[in-house]
Amino acid sequence: MIDVLYFAWVRERIGVPREQVATNAATVAELIEELKAREERYALAFSDLRALRVAVDQELTDFDASLVGVREVAFFPPMTGG
């Protein structure tokens, strides 16, 4: 089980801020494919990966990052702090 978190419009499209996901996905990209296959709201949220960023265990990374030993994956748009 991996905690999957969503922020900003990704959260709004998927409808929840976080959920636990049972997955055997080896990478973030595989996890995204699994989620997209589940329901339309995921397919919509993940339709353009260029508009998304991902953090694995609270570190910004790439979509090909491994999920081995990972507790938490977060998806969100580019950040707008400051």
């Binding site: 978190l5 900003a8 953090a55 580019p78 950040m79 702090g81």
Partner: protein, 146 residues
């Protein structure tokens, strides 16, 4: 270094004075304060969302990097989240150094990285609707100079 993520407002002047006191002997202190702007008079509120846990880690990493690159006597980052209105202070950064160039550069570096690498997202509620503030290409490009 001090990093505070909070919903409460803060007094930038009081923070600047307290920071300057702790960094006594530094000689040069630079501060940046970000204020909610109401560009066309239609802003009702700004909601700032963040990623608790990652926010603190990301900012600590950014501040550590600044401390490696410049000769800093101190660094302060305060960033609010939650609901703000026009004129509210969103965040502030302060840096202290023996050298004015170091204090300036470190403050600019912190701002550039906070903009694009700290997990905050701004949503604007306006009279004509709500929308997430989009990241600007020039903010991403600003990282290239470091």
């Amino acid at each position: 270094m001090t990093v505070r993520i909070q919903t409460e407002s803060f007094d930038a002047g009081a923070e600047l004075n307290a920071f300057t006191d702790t960094a006594a002997g530094a000689g040069a202190v630079v501060s940046f304060t970000g204020v909610v702007r109401d560009v066309d008079g239609s802003l009702v509120a700004m909601e700032i969302e963040h990623y608790p846990g990652m926010t603190e880690k990301a900012i600590a990493t950014i501040v550590s990097e600044a401390q490696t690159r410049w000769d800093l006597a101190g660094a302060l980052v305060i960033h609010r989240h939650g609901r703000l209105t026009a004129g509210d202070q969103i965040m502030m950064v302060a840096t202290a150094s023996r050298h004015r160039v170091d204090a300036f550069q470190a403050a600019e570096f912190l701002m550039d990285y906070l903009k694009s690498r700290a997990p905050f997202w701004k949503k604007e509620m306006t009279q004509s609707g709500n929308g997430w503030v989009e990241a600007r290409d020039e903010d991403e490009a600003a990282l290239d100079r470091w």
